[in-house]
Symmetry: D2
Subunit: 295 residues, 4 copies
Amino acid sequence: MLGDFNVRTDLALEAKESFGEEDVKIRGVRIEEETDEEREIYTTVVRIETENGARTMGKPVGTYITLEAPNMSSEDENYHREISEVLAGHLRQLLGEEEKTVLVVGLGNREVTPDALGPQVVGNLRVTRHIVKEYGRASLEGSAHPVSAIVPGVMAQTGMETLEIIRGVVRETAPQAVVVVDALAARSTRRLNRTIQITDTGINPGSGVGNHRNGINEEVLGVPVIAIGVPTVVDAATIVNDTMEHLIDTKERRQSLREQISPQLNTMFVTPKDIDETIKRVSYTISEGLNIALS
Amino acid sequence: MLGDFNVRTDLALEAKESFGEEDVKIRGVRIEEETDEEREIYTTVVRIETENGARTMGKPVGTYITLEAPNMSSEDENYHREISEVLAGHLRQLLGEEEKTVLVVGLGNREVTPDALGPQVVGNLRVTRHIVKEYGRASLEGSAHPVSAIVPGVMAQTGMETLEIIRGVVRETAPQAVVVVDALAARSTRRLNRTIQITDTGINPGSGVGNHRNGINEEVLGVPVIAIGVPTVVDAATIVNDTMEHLIDTKERRQSLREQISPQLNTMFVTPKDIDETIKRVSYTISEGLNIALS
Amino acid sequence: MLGDFNVRTDLALEAKESFGEEDVKIRGVRIEEETDEEREIYTTVVRIETENGARTMGKPVGTYITLEAPNMSSEDENYHREISEVLAGHLRQLLGEEEKTVLVVGLGNREVTPDALGPQVVGNLRVTRHIVKEYGRASLEGSAHPVSAIVPGVMAQTGMETLEIIRGVVRETAPQAVVVVDALAARSTRRLNRTIQITDTGINPGSGVGNHRNGINEEVLGVPVIAIGVPTVVDAATIVNDTMEHLIDTKERRQSLREQISPQLNTMFVTPKDIDETIKRVSYTISEGLNIALS
Amino acid sequence: MLGDFNVRTDLALEAKESFGEEDVKIRGVRIEEETDEEREIYTTVVRIETENGARTMGKPVGTYITLEAPNMSSEDENYHREISEVLAGHLRQLLGEEEKTVLVVGLGNREVTPDALGPQVVGNLRVTRHIVKEYGRASLEGSAHPVSAIVPGVMAQTGMETLEIIRGVVRETAPQAVVVVDALAARSTRRLNRTIQITDTGINPGSGVGNHRNGINEEVLGVPVIAIGVPTVVDAATIVNDTMEHLIDTKERRQSLREQISPQLNTMFVTPKDIDETIKRVSYTISEGLNIALS
């Protein structure tokens, strides 16, 4: 059972899988799957509809869309363009029809490669709010959302909670929606860098490579918060736990062993050696998805 | 006269020099000079005391301390340590005796070398606010100021005025003082990268390499704002103007020529080829000055 | 006359223009111009065919192709794709028909924004030599050139001449052609960041933002050397000289004034404030041109 | 026995420990230990003196000095200065008395944080060869070694073996000694970022975060090669193996389990979340050690 192993996953998809049997039904949770064979993009929508479902899944009520694209780390530019377009479609749906001012927040630490996804996405973003303010909305072609963006940094660099910075900026600039982009922890190395999760529940405490201490969501910011996440690491403790799970059959022995395993593992993560190239490509794909959705 | 040539300088010292004769007295402006022969550090304190003085100088009422250290771009670490200590002394005086929470803001664009001073200073800063919040003030040795820090980025990257971001963060985290660090424009190439200006007037509109559109000062933030600046560029238009000044004797011809000179020059700056090494060294010297002053 | 003013330009196009009248004929120099109205790309081919022409132009015998694209710093991706394709066409012609191993060298200092063009081009390049060595030529689709790449750094960082590093790598890995990419100095701010020069003469002493001390060309490397350059700076001394030229009519007075102008200007450059965005876009355009040409 | 578990360690100290009992004697291997209680620096010198010792240890004949400094990732600058001085002392001994030209090579990938140690060390190094060549040896104060430096990049970026680049540069510039700096893999998370290994055997195939395919040593370069390494990662497969070791008692079952564990683990590493700060501090400590030793 989830929780038994303190196994951490930021993916609703994996939370669901942890219940074992493929077609187990969880009360208050609806799941739809769609396979785009031609483009090799697999979409799963997990809708947590009740507080009961939320408790069982360990995630808040809301919609969790997962795109799985096995070749997402490949070099093929056309393939990336297709993922960007699918992503843009989901973003448009979550953002709603009418034009909105949108603040994009690139969470994470730009100095730690697998945590630099958010900062790199912001680096490729088309930012337009200042142009609209100066020259009017007509200065952007078509019907575009005025976009602002910030890379708040991490607590070790700023001495502040990320939430404090974002809340200050939101109060001062009053965007109508916030999109946060963050690197996530998955349970399985199999999902790393080939999965994008989009959710309207924002960021929740304990999630992200750097483990946010506070939630960043509509409740605390007062405007809708869409989160885009890509799993780029597995917690080191998770990998060891998962190995043990196959080897040890009694719950008691597992518990006792976990206590022996170096507590240092909790401050460590596992990531692929070519993470630099992956982050570069995937962040570009997400920036393009945002650029398409917001213009 | 200053203004005649649209010559831009962010240094009070140069504003004063533009009046020509060395010992001209300006009403409402007091000047003290001090020479530390041994350490080769020359200190000038310009005190603008009245609105009249402010008008004449083109700078707000307040104190402007300028350290000139000819070898500031050299590699000598001990020399840098000495500058850091002199800087720390001035900062302590401007900040006052009692312990304060301080927010350090690294202005400028980290992607443009001569404008990266502020971001690089923040990169070397000892940030402690989160430690104090978690473990109490006793967790820092001695009597230290809890320090937070932010690199807000520039408008082309964020779509927001720098002031909007800083004001939001100040409202949310309520520091008792703000220190902003910025790369400045000088009038003369002679001063580049060997001068530090410290002032209690904050940042004023039109100053900085990137030309801030709004002031960042006590009036708009509600807490004292100390600005630390180092001239790292000269405006391209200024260099050309200064050349002309020597060549053309009538005000009318100068005016007409300025109109012929490419308006593109106004969006360009002049900087030394080894600006990367200089920014690295000088930003380290300033971080150390802040680290000493704030702990 | 060129040289009189010590005016420095790395562009053959500007060297030619310095002779004044548009249709002046220089013996040993042939010029062709082509205008692609639809795509707004202006191509000039300067062929220096004799030693006499070389002396007059102050550039070695060879072919200099200049693409001028006024919107090259714009955000329009499709426009950039078109420039990349035109660039690829010229590169293919200079490289010849048959498959070749190619070493791409990103000259310049990655820490100084306007000099980071070469390093950033290499950062976006598709590098394949190691794949071909491991899996055979069939592992690349189509008929591709095995590509290797290096960013040698600048002398202040390495203590070595760039030529020493490149010559060592060429001797050890034996590429059949070398492509060097470098940021150049133009005479006029008007050409900055909107011009690409492609030449089969390599790099010549004194050229580039960082002023290479040695040539990097077929003579010293033993294989054909194609250079791709984009003017990103104007020498500070050039800007001042050009201003004076309009003001002062006698050669003697100009000479005397030049001597008064700060010699520091010779170690300074002029560049636009938004150089970070420009370098990012233009380097991407060139990488794509190389990726198309080499695969 | 080492090898049974395919456990990878780049540290001679750990290779020795894998033999279990603390005071086991290995024929052909001599070990000295020294404890500097005051400065909390523990030094172990492993001398592999015979081919037999080399086979048993899985490392070439030579001297391996390990400094263990538990507080090496702390912020205390004075402590770092002391480690730099101890390091400098060992380097001087390995380099010998007389003045030598030295090439420092920063191995690893500057884009992947735990692998960026080598590039960051080179970034802080005092490079002097070009000054000596231009102004003579007297231009450096004291008796200094002319120093050159290079960051060759990794194969995925260059398409070349690191060895090819280094051999080319060595042939062209003829240094009298080479110092390579590299991030290493340890067996235990306990040693990460608090251990420096200095050896006169250079780099051996399969070592380093990025797994060098070729040795970089005196045999292939023709001049003495000193390697400085800091373990910054543990192989993901090693962590899982070590966990299993405690759980499973028969060699056969271990073998069978290893085959089930995801082969992806072999391309993954484990590293601490604050690796950015550690790399910054430790690389600065090593640069200072080199700067002291070489001047």
